[in-house]
């Protein structure tokens, strides 16, 4: 099965500072990768997805960017954080694990909680 590692788990940053959240995936190859943001403990908003190295699609215009330097690494970044960037960021993966029952299922990491002050 797939395992997703996210770090840091918790981050408190001042407005205007840079950001880097990292996500790595084990147990699959060539996965589709996703960054979601969850605000106020409720709904999920898809921010970015990637179908391969260097291939990034943005869902909404924002202060954030994403990169995929390696097959199983997905990074969320910002040059200057805004207060509105606070939230719970979730990385997800959709990759073949050799188990048919896992088809079409997204696996999520434990999340990174960002507070911008």
């Amino acid at each position: 099965s797939q395992t997703i590692h996210q770090w840091p788990a918790t981050l408190v940053q001042p407005v205007g500072s840079p950001l880097s959240l990292e996500c790595t995936v084990e147990g699959t190859s060539n996965p589709n990768l996703y960054w979601y943001r969850q605000a106020a403990g409720r709904g999920l908003q898809l921010l970015f997805y990637s179908v391969g190295i260097g291939q990034i699609s943005s869902e909404v215009p924002q202060n954030l960017s994403a990169s995929r330097p390696q097959d199983r690494q997905f990074i969320l970044s910002s040059k200057k954080l805004l207060l509105s960037d606070s939230g719970f960021y979730l990385c997800a993966s959709k990759g073949w694990t050799g188990v048919k029952s896992g088809a079409n299922v997204l696996t999520f990491g434990a999340g990174s909680r960002l507070t911008v002050l």
Binding site: N32, G43, L46, V51, L90
Partner: protein, 117 residues
């Protein structure tokens, strides 16, 4: 446009009683439907999915969901609730309009389930 709705912000149920968390969807074509659960400060965990076949789908932790095409619903159910089932539940539908089949999921706003002793 495709969408999924969870009409209840919160569901309260006594331990041992049956529970239902509602979900309705709007998609063109045949839907791929999912339920995920999120415990506090954690990522989402997959519970079950409907792709095709039997309308009653059984998943993890004793949960099941019934696909009803005529009512465009996919309600999550459990015969006997446990206090440990208290969490945030998300219904999701695969975004079939996504180019290249990127397996993007459209999530509902979430329903908070509170099971009281």
């Amino acid at each position: 446009a495709q969408s999924v709705a969870q009409p209840e912000d919160q569901v309260n149920v006594a331990e041992g009683n049956p529970l239902t968390v509602k979900c309705t969807y709007s998609v063109s074509g045949n839907p791929y439907l999912f339920w995920y659960v999120q415990y506090p400060n954690r990522g989402l965990q997959f519970l079950l999915k409907y792709i095709t076949g039997d309308n009653l789908v059984k998943g993890s932790y004793g949960f099941e969901a019934e696909f009803n095409k005529s009512q465009t619903s996919f309600h999550l159910k459990k015969p006997s609730a446990l206090v440990s089932d208290s969490a945030l539940y998300f219904c999701a539908v695969r975004d079939i309009e996504a180019p290249g089949g990127y397996n993007k999921l459209i999530f509902g706003a979430g329903t908070r389930l509170a099971v009281h002793p």
